[in-house]
Amino acid sequence: MEIFNDFFFIALPYVALAMFLVGSIYRYTKKGFQLSSLSSQFLEGRRLFYGSAPFHWGVVVVFTGHLISFLFPRSVLAWNSQPVRLMILEITGFVFGISMLIGLVNLFIRRYTTPRLRFVTNKMDMIVYLLLITQTFAGLWVAYNFRWGSSWFSSLLAPYLYSIFMFEPDTSSVIMLPWPVQLHIITAFVIIALIPFSRLIHFLVVPFHYIWRPYQQVRWYWNRREVRSADTPWTLQRPKNN
């Protein structure tokens, strides 16, 4: 049992995070052409709406919720001190979790019943779908049966995750948790490990920089004012746009 716990809650997280970090950086820097959200809307544009929109907006909210509970556990506990606020948090999370699940199931059915999509689908897509469905279902199951998740996450899981990131892994709180919660944690790390090897990587390149960037972009190979000036020496720096 000891080995089981150490493997899943110490070894797996580190392996997953290492794979995630090294793999993502490698793919981003070396395999830019293979980094894409691989949208299939062009081949099937109607049913995608009922899958992609609820799933992604669900993920945005649920993931942000997990992140806040991890980063600011005390604030979450303070917020939860009043039952009304706790209920608001829990219900919001649950509703968006359901939205995720509905979206995922729709996406899954769409992908495997549209003939054209068979030709832009690979095995990893299937693995990703199954993992995400398992993960979302497990998360909803945990939220429904082991209340109130937002509170005990902050007091039990946040410290565990901290211990991982501080390189002082402490699994004492995790090993006591019921198996659906453990499954949720394990699947989470498996998904993290698979990010660089699947289309999931597109979440790392969410184009937030678009918000600040000017609309038009003009690129020059060299500094155009200096390249022909006799006063400036030749620059040997290779332009970045190629």
Binding site: K31, G32, F33, Q34, L35, S36, S37, L38, S39, S40, Q41, F42, L43, E44, G45, L48, F49, S52, A53, F55, H56, W57, P115, R116, R118, F119, V120, N122, M124, F197, S198, R199, H202, V205, P207, H209, Y210, I211, R213, Y215, Q216, Q217, V218, R219, W220, Y221, W222, N223, R224, R225, E226, V227, R228, R238, P239, N241, N242
Partner: protein, 516 residues
């Protein structure tokens, strides 16, 4: 003044014969790949017609281009707010059926079909799924007005045209059409660049070519929506958007782009224009009626001393300035004022200009009495017994201009944001050149009349000769004045261009693989 150079184009629509050689040349070089089969970076449309993708001009459907609202110019269907909130599902994205499902034929069946009583046939199969399909659409399905009830009748340019005006266009005896070849316009205010959330699309400073960096594109597919000309295409296989690159590897090597080089009708001209980038912003904010003037005002006189000084200050090479001075595009667009941009109301400031077509619309039909002629014929001879005759006479100066077979409004909707006078002005000039040349070659037009016509059209005799030369006689070097590439500046030249043949484009030496 911020002087920059732009490689621009003029397409002379009077000369286009609709042969699609340009499209095929482009396809052979660039888009003969999986995922790109449906793309025609260069395509030729019959007008009136719905085009490719279907009804691309109708921004009520596709929400492309810029729109001016309350004095502010914003992207109609993309932009920062819309682009990011619709990133999970783009409600304005055309899907493959709006273009057509790419197909091929099972030619092998013709050879390998087992012996039977029937002739073997090559069945059409989808290039996406490989399954047999019934072909419903193609990139030029409405060529020469075929399928008019479905295609030509639904042309978005019919807006503001009355029922009767439309009916006249479709009367069998009066029916006329012309061809509209289209490539990427390499705009000065490109909507695709502005809409790209990843910042993968950019305009090259040196020559204004708009390119998509295939390493940075993340398939957020906003450019497909934003380009009002639908000239940015989504590759469904690689998950990257692609577009016309103006054959920049060829241009850098001093060759004309493939579509232009192969043009049978020699309708295409390519040359440098110098423009003032500092005025772009105020130009795009002007009213629809003034857009073309502001657009043409951006283009600077390459002989002007001050322009040359400012250009040099901005690093524009002497050879580029020289190319701008010899540019056939400058002559058509500015000197003779003969060319207009396609759909200027989209506010992207397209840098591909069109000489509006005169020939297909000029000849009017009049009813003649053929009885006398017929009586002289041998009774058993076959002869046309219809009573219609094409009237191409120049008896009345502008008489035939008022009886054109196309409503002016139709062309004005395409080339001048609805300004009919502008189209008429170009037609007058084109007609004047013809009358002027008729004086010189046939001689049945009096000098007085020809001079009057030229004066009325605002052309001098030398200009008319210039138009005639460049339109009718121009050689390769006259039609394509390509600025010399500066090896020290063009980074692509360090790569061997042949490496990229059959690959995704330039800069890739490894085999392309779709992401996982």
């Amino acid at each position: 003044m911020d002087v920059r150079s732009q490689v621009s184009m003029v397409f002379h629509l009077d000369k286009c014969i609709g042969c699609h050689t340009c499209s095929v040349a482009c396809k052979n070089i660039w888009t003969d790949r999986k995922g790109a089969e449906y793309m025609w970076w260069n395509n030729v449309e019959t007008k009136p017609g719905t085009g490719y993708p279907t009804k691309w001009e109708d921004q009520g459907i596709y929400k492309g281009g810029w729109e001016k609202r309350n004095g502010k110019v914003t992207l109609k269907g993309a932009g920062k707010r819309r682009g990011l909130t619709n990133i999970f599902y783009n409600p304005n994205l055309p899907v493959i059926d709006d273009y057509y499902e790419p197909f091929t034929y099972k030619y092998l069946d013709l050879i390998e079909a087992p012996e039977s009583d029937d002739q073997p046939t090559a069945r059409p199969v989808s290039l996406i799924t490989g399954d047999p399909i019934d072909i419903k659409m193609g990139p030029n399905w409405d060529d020469d007005l075929s399928g008019s009830p479905d295609f030509a009748r639904n042309d978005p340019n019919f807006q503001n045209l009355s029922e009767t005006e439309q009916e006249v266009m479709f009367q069998l005896e009066k029916m006329a059409f012309f061809y509209l070849p289209r490539i990427c316009n390499h705009c000065l205010n490109p909507a695709c660049v502005a809409s790209c959330p990843s910042g993968a699309i950019y305009k090259r400073g040196e020559d204004g070519v708009v390119l998509i960096n295939q390493d940075v594109c993340r398939a957020w597919r906003m450019c497909v929506t934003a380009c009002p000309y639908k000239k940015s295409y989504y590759n469904w296989h690689t998950g990257k958007s692609e577009k016309c690159i103006l054959c920049f590897p060829r241009i850098e090597a001093g060759l004309a782009p493939a579509c232009m080089h192969s043009c049978v009708g020699r309708i295409r001209y390519l040359g440098v224009l110098l423009y003032d980038a500092s005025k772009i912003e105020s130009a795009i904010h002007d009213d629809d009626s003034n857009l073309i003037n502001r657009h043409l005002d951006l283009i600077l006189d390459p002989f002007d001393e001050e322009v040359i000084r400012e250009a040099k200050k901005n690093g524009v090479a002497d050879s580029t300035i020289h190319a701008a001075q010899n540019s056939p595009v400058y002559k058509y667009v500015k000197e003779w004022n003969l060319a207009l941009p396609l759909h200027p109301e989209f506010r992207t400031l397209p840098m591909l200009f069109y000489v509006p077509p005169l020939l297909p619309v000029m000849a009017t039909l009049k009813q003649v009495d053929n009885k006398e002629q017929a009586a002289k014929m041998n009774p058993i001879a076959k002869y046309w017994d219809d009573n219609w005759l094409y009237d191409t006479s120049t008896a009345e100066l502008w008489g035939s201009l008022d009886q054109v077979r196309f409503p002016l409004k139709y062309l004005a909707n395409m080339f001048s944001a609805g300004d009919e006078e502008l189209i008429k002005d170009k037609w007058k000039k084109l007609m004047a050149v013809r009358i002027h040349r008729r004086r010189a070659t046939v001689g049945d037009v009096s000098d007085q009349k020809a001079d009057e016509v030229l004066k009325d059209a605002g052309l001098t005799a030398e200009q008319a000769e210039g138009v005639f030369y460049l339109t009718a006689l121009a050689k390769f070097e006259d039609r394509f004045v390509i600025p010399p590439a500066h090896r020290e500046q063009a980074i692509e030249m360090m790569d061997f261009t042949g490496d990229a043949k059959g690959e995704i484009g330039f800069g890739f030496k490894s085999k392309i693989r779709r992401g996982i």
